[in-house]
Amino acid sequence: MRHGDARALEDLYDRYAPTLHAVALKILGRRDLADDAVQQTWIQAWRQAGRFKDGRGSVLGWLVMMVRSRALDLRRRQQTRSRLETDAASEPSSRSPAGHSADPVDAASTAQRRAAIRGALEALDPRMRSVIERAFFGGQTQREIAATQDVPLGTVKTWTRRGLDALRGLLPKGGEA
């Protein structure tokens, strides 16, 4: 994709679009808006592919951060708009990735990794998990979390780092889950 190969983008799309859409859906709660966020993300990724640097993280990590950012932007715009007009009917339900022609072995491996990540999240201290999810999916700053949870900012910072460190320890090494 860094060399302008549209087929490479298509391959990456088939592989990662369901994960990116899940992130957008989690943040936005509406399929139509999640679709918009995913579409914007892939176009942005195509335009900025030259900036991606090997060794600074995975392609998926890069794309996830991008879609999260797009989704939070869309949500902020949507919240502003919804003050002025009645919100359209929402469709919060998730849809299985139909048409995603994943290799069965690949799919099984992905499902196993997903289960491992969920298990690790479940094993976290609920306060740390809450802070992580509020920040990552809720788009709240640490100050906002401290205010809404009525805890000192320093505590939120500690829970954030300890939560991520604990998550690192709970996840299988080398992404072999």
Partner: protein, 289 residues
């Protein structure tokens, strides 16, 4: 681990989750600018945060999204390739400078327009938020005032009942009768009655009564003149007072006459269909002295 490094790692974790404020982000940028090792630590946290996405149930985008993406990139959504980046960096200095100024001017204009729009939007939002808050505040105040009035009324009723009961119990003329359970009743339906013969004010105390949820107890005043049919009159349903106890203050005088007896029956929910005779079994009765 030094305090500084500890702080740095806190910043990395916050940045990875996108939860730092502008000042913290600037501080972090400063810290990683000169240290490849720190950049790696930050990258590791970012990578860790991105695994949160992999824990979600995958969700397929609508089928038109892929087509729209492919159409957009075919229609001029040029990828920024390393080759193009290198080409850009080889542009003659003057041309690059002109382009830089053009971009800077355009950016300034856009920034000014954006800030203006944001300022206007923020003012409008703030006014709307203020109006909404005022409406909510007003509604909440009205609700609280209504609740307070209800509580005051209940309190007044309770105080009146209490004072009446105390006056009656302390009256030298008060007469006491026992409300005895009948064959249809039980110890729970027994109680005590205190009546002031001058006013007809009567206190009925039923210390153990526990009404079933689908039935109601009802009190009756009975007066019989010789040679005539007894006159029966409903004194109303037995309800718990605000204190939860079953202590009733009733006005039993009718036509200047006190009842000779008071009875209690177990009726369907809401009481007997007529106020002149019980329909359910009589569970307790008292003969007034």
């Amino acid at each position: 681990m030094t305090h500084d490094h500890d702080t740095f790692l806190d910043l990395c974790a916050g940045e990875a989750l996108g939860s730092l404020d502008a000042a913290e982000r600037a501080r972090l940028a400063e810290l990683v600018a000169s240290s490849p090792a720190r950049r790696e630590e930050l990258a590791a946290y970012r990578e860790l945060a991105s695994t949160l996405a992999e824990g979600l149930e995958p969700s397929a985008p609508s089928s038109h999204v892929k087509a729209a993406v492919l159409a957009a990139i075919a229609d001029g959504g040029e990828a920024s390739t390393p080759e193009r980046a290198a080409e850009a960096s080889r542009e003659p200095g003057r041309l690059r400078l002109v382009r830089t100024w053009q971009w800077a001017a355009a950016a300034c204009l856009l920034l000014a327009l954006g800030l203006g729009a944001l300022w206007m939007g923020a003012r409008s939002d703030a006014r709307r938020d203020l109006r909404d808050a005022e409406v909510r505040h007003s509604q909440e105040r009205e609700r609280l005032v209504a609740d307070l009035e209800t509580a005051r009324a209940a309190n007044t009723t309770l105080r009146d009942e209490y004072e009446t009961a105390m006056q009656l119990l302390g009256s030298a003329q008060a007469r006491v009768a026992t409300l005895e359970a009948t064959a249809n009743g039980s110890a729970a339906t027994a109680g005590r009655i205190v009546v002031d013969p001058r006013t007809g004010r009567t206190v009925v105390v039923l210390p153990q009564l526990d009404a079933p949820t689908d039935r109601d107890y009802q009190l009756w005043s009975i007066r019989a003149e010789e040679g005539q049919d007894p006159v029966i009159r409903s004194l109303g349903l037995v309800t718990r007072s605000a204190t939860g106890a079953t202590i009733l203050v009733l006005d039993t005088m009718a036509g200047g006459e006190l009842p000779q007896e008071i009875a209690m029956s177990l009726e369907r929910k809401g009481g007997a269909s007529t106020s002149s005779a019980p329909e359910g079994p009589v569970v307790a009765a008292a003969v007034l002295p």
